[in-house]
C-alpha cells in the first residue's frame, strides 16, 4: 500500500468549517475498483439476513439507528457485519437486485463482511490510518479506490 498523502489532510478539529474540503484516509483495499457516492454512516454493525431488505437496500433490524433507511447507491461506512451467516448471500442479492451500496468502508474484519464485500463486487477498504467515523458523516461525498486503499472525503456543506 502507498503511504498516506499528507498534503491532502486537514485538521479535523472543527468539522463545520470544512465544507467542500477534501480529506484523505488511507487503508487496505479489500475489493478492488473505484466508485464514489454519498456517505451512509452508521456506527452500529449491520445484520445481512434478517437485518436488511435486499429489494430496497433498507436496514430493517429493530432498534438499529438506521432502521428504515436505504444504503442503495451510497457508500456504506460501518463497523462491520453481525448476525447470521446469510450475510454474504443477502448482500450478493443487493448486487443482483441493483440495491447494493456503491462501496463499503468498514473497521472490523470478519469472514462475513469480507465474503460479503467480495460477492457484492464493490470497492471495499478497511484498516484505516484514522478513524473513518471521526472523518465521514452522512451526506459527505466519498470516493473509494479499492485498488490503492485510498478514500477521499468531500465534506458536505453544514446544515443550518
Amino acid at each position: 500500500m502507498s503511504a498516506p498523502d499528507k498534503t491532502d489532510q486537514t485538521d479535523m478539529t472543527d468539522q463545520t468549517d470544512m465544507a467542500g474540503e477534501t480529506l484523505v484516509i488511507q487503508g487496505r483495499g479489500v475489493v478492488g475498483g473505484v466508485a464514489e457516492g454519498e456517505a451512509f454512516v452508521t456506527r452500529e454493525t449491520v445484520s445481512g439476513w434478517g437485518g436488511i431488505d435486499a429489494r430496497s437496500g433498507t436496514i430493517t433490524e429493530q432498534r438499529h439507528e438506521k432502521r428504515g433507511e436505504s444504503f442503495a447507491g451510497k457508500v456504506l461506512v460501518f463497523p462491520g457485519a453481525k448476525g447470521s451467516s446469510g450475510w454474504s448471500h443477502y448482500f450478493h442479492a443487493t448486487r443482483r437486485l441493483g440495491t447494493a451500496p456503491k462501496a463499503m468502508l468498514f473497521t472490523v474484519m470478519t469472514t462475513k463482511v469480507a465474503l460479503g464485500a467480495v460477492v457484492t463486487r464493490v470497492p471495499a477498504v478497511t484498516e484505516f490510518d484514522r478513524d473513518p467515523f471521526e472523518v465521514i458523516e452522512d451526506g459527505d461525498w466519498v470516493r473509494v479506490d479499492g485498488d490503492k486503499g485510498r478514500v477521499e472525503v468531500v465534506k458536505r456543506p453544514p446544515r443550518r
Binding site: 475489493v31 451467516s85 454474504s88 469472514t111 460477492v119
Partner: protein, 427 residues
C-alpha cells in the same frame, strides 16, 4: 496469498472449470481477509437451496441447478457443471418442508422442485440433513477439525462446545470449500485467535433453557464478536441449553467462540481461557443485566393475545420433542392458535416411528422440519402476535414479519398455545 501446488493446479483449471472458479473465489476471499494460505477442511455445512425466488430469478428452467450453483455457491458468472463434493458435506436449514409445505404456503410444484434439487445435489455428495443443527443428527466433527460451516448458531456450537475450528462461512465460500476441500486459514482456524479477551462474571443462577437464552442474548450485546470466558456458572447445562445460548449470543452479537472453564474443551481455568493475558474488558451479568435482556426482547410488546407459537429454533432435539409431547398430551390448542414445532427431519422420522408426532399433532400442533419461519418468512395465515422459546427467533421475527414476538420459557409458550394468552414473566 500462498497456494500449495494442488491449490494452484485447481486454480489453473487442471481439475475442471468448477474447481477453477471455486479456487478463484477462495483466493479473492482469502486476500480480502488478509489470509496467508488455505487450510484443508474435514467437513462442510452450507446451503444448496434452489427454490427461492431470488435464486430462481432469470433462469430459463427452474431445475437449472448448474446455473444456481455457479452463481450462488461459487460467485461465478460462467456456468459450470456441479462436480462431486470432495469432503463430507451437508445441507443446513432451507425454506421448504417437503411434508408440510402447504401449511407454509408453498405449492406442489415448489415442493417437487425442492425434491428434485435434493436428488440433484444429493447425487453430487450433499447430504440433505436440512437443519440448522447438523451436530444433532450425526454431522459431528472432532476436536481440532477444521470446518467450513455456515449457520451462526452451529458455528458457535462447533467451536465452543465441540472444539472444532470454523469461522462463520457463507453460501459462496462453503460451495467452493465442498468441491476443493479448502478455506482461507484465518480467524478461528488459528489457535492464537481462540483465546478469550472478555471476562464475564455471572452472578445469578443460570439453570434453565430460558436462563441460558437470556444470558446468551445479553452476552452478544456485551462482547459483540469478541470471545468471552464465563466465570461463575455453577449448574451443569444440558446440550440444548448451550445450543440456545450460542444461538442467542450469535443473534444479538457475533459470538463465534466462548469458554466456560470446566465445561468447554479448550480451557480448564479462566487463566487458560485468557491465554495468560489480563482480560481486555470485564463484564458482570447480574439480575439487572438479565432483566435488560428480557426487556430488549419483550419490552416493545403490548398485545398478549398470541395466535402463533413457534418452538424449535435452533431445531429441537429428540429430548425436547418428548418434553413438548408430555406437555401437550391429551390437551387441545386454543381456538385460532397455531403451534409449529421444528425438528430435523431425521428426528421427525424418529418421532413418527415412536408415536411422539402423533401426540403433538393430536393437540392440533404441526411437527415441521427442514425450515423455520425466520428462514422462509412463511407464517400461519392470520398471524398477529407470536410467542417463541427462542431468543434468536424472537430477535429476527419482528424485523422479518413486522409482528410482535414474545420470548419466554417452553412452559410459557405451551401455556400461550393452550390459552391464547402469553403470561410469561422474566422470573
Amino acid at each position: 496469498m500462498r497456494l500449495s501446488d494442488a491449490e494452484q493446479a485447481m486454480l489453473d483449471g487442471q481439475e475442471g472449470q468448477a474447481k477453477a472458479r471455486a479456487m478463484d473465489l477462495l483466493l479473492r476471499y482469502g486476500e480480502a481477509l488478509g489470509a496467508e494460505r488455505m487450510v484443508e477442511v474435514a467437513h462442510v455445512a452450507g446451503t444448496w437451496s434452489a427454490t427461492t425466488p431470488f435464486v430462481q430469478a432469470g433462469l430459463k428452467r427452474p431445475d437449472d441447478f448448474d446455473s444456481i450453483f455457479s452463481r450462488f455457491n461459487l460467485d461465478s458468472d460462467a456456468v459450470v457443471e456441479v462436480p462431486r463434493a470432495v469432503v463430507p458435506t451437508c445441507q443446513l436449514i432451507h425454506g421448504i418442508d417437503t411434508r408440510n409445505y402447504a401449511a407454509q404456503g408453498f405449492s406442489d410444484d415448489q415442493a417437487d422442485l425442492q425434491r428434485a434439487s435434493e436428488r440433484f445435489f444429493g447425487s453430487r455428495g450433499v447430504q440433505w440433513n436440512s437443519t440448522c443443527t447438523p451436530y444433532q443428527v450425526g454431522q459431528t466433527p472432532l476436536r481440532g477439525d477444521h470446518l467450513a460451516w455456515m449457520e451462526s448458531s452451529a458455528v458457535v456450537y462447533a467451536n465452543a462446545v465441540l472444539g472444532a475450528r470454523t469461522n462463520v462461512e457463507g453460501r459462496e465460500s462453503t460451495g467452493a470449500a465442498s468441491i476443493t476441500g479448502r478455506i482461507p486459514y484465518f480467524g478461528l482456524h488459528i489457535p492464537a485467535n481462540r483465546f478469550a479477551t472478555h471476562l464475564v462474571r455471572v452472578e445469578v443462577p443460570v439453570e434453565s433453557m430460558m436462563d441460558w437464552g437470556l444470558l446468551g442474548y445479553a452476552l452478544g450485546e456485551m462482547v459483540a464478536e469478541d470471545i468471552p470466558v464465563l466465570e461463575g456458572i455453577t449448574c451443569k447445562p444440558e446440550p440444548e441449553w448451550l445450543k440456545h445460548f450460542g444461538a442467542a449470543a450469535a443473534s444479538s452479537g457475533g459470538v463465534e467462540m466462548y469458554h466456560i472453564p470446566g465445561l468447554t474443551p479448550e480451557a480448564d481455568s479462566v487463566e487458560e481461557a485468557l491465554g495468560g493475558q489480563a482480560p481486555r474488558v470485564v463484564h458482570r451479568y447480574g439480575a439487572a443485566e438479565r432483566r435488560r435482556a428480557w426487556e430488549a426482547l419483550n419490552g416493545a410488546n403490548t398485545r398478549d393475545d398470541v395466535n402463533f407459537v413457534m418452538l424449535g429454533c435452533p431445531h429441537n432435539s429428540a429430548k425436547q420433542m418428548w418434553r413438548i409431547a408430555e406437555l401437550l398430551e391429551g390437551k387441545r390448542l386454543h381456538d385460532g392458535v397455531a403451534l409449529w414445532v421444528h425438528t430435523p427431519r431425521q428426528i421427525r422420522h424418529l418421532c413418527d416411528e415412536s408415536g411422539i408426532t402423533e401426540i403433538i399433532e393430536a393437540a392440533g400442533a404441526l411437527v415441521m422440519s427442514d425450515s423455520c419461519p425466520a428462514i422462509n418468512r412463511m407464517l400461519p395465515e392470520g398471524t398477529e402476535v407470536i410467542a417463541t422459546d427462542s431468543c434468536k427467533q424472537a430477535h429476527y421475527l419482528p424485523a422479518i414479519s413486522g409482528k410482535p414476538t414474545w420470548f419466554g420459557g417452553l412452559e410459557h409458550c405451551i401455556e400461550a398455545a393452550l390459552t391464547g394468552r402469553f403470561r410469561g414473566r422474566p422470573e
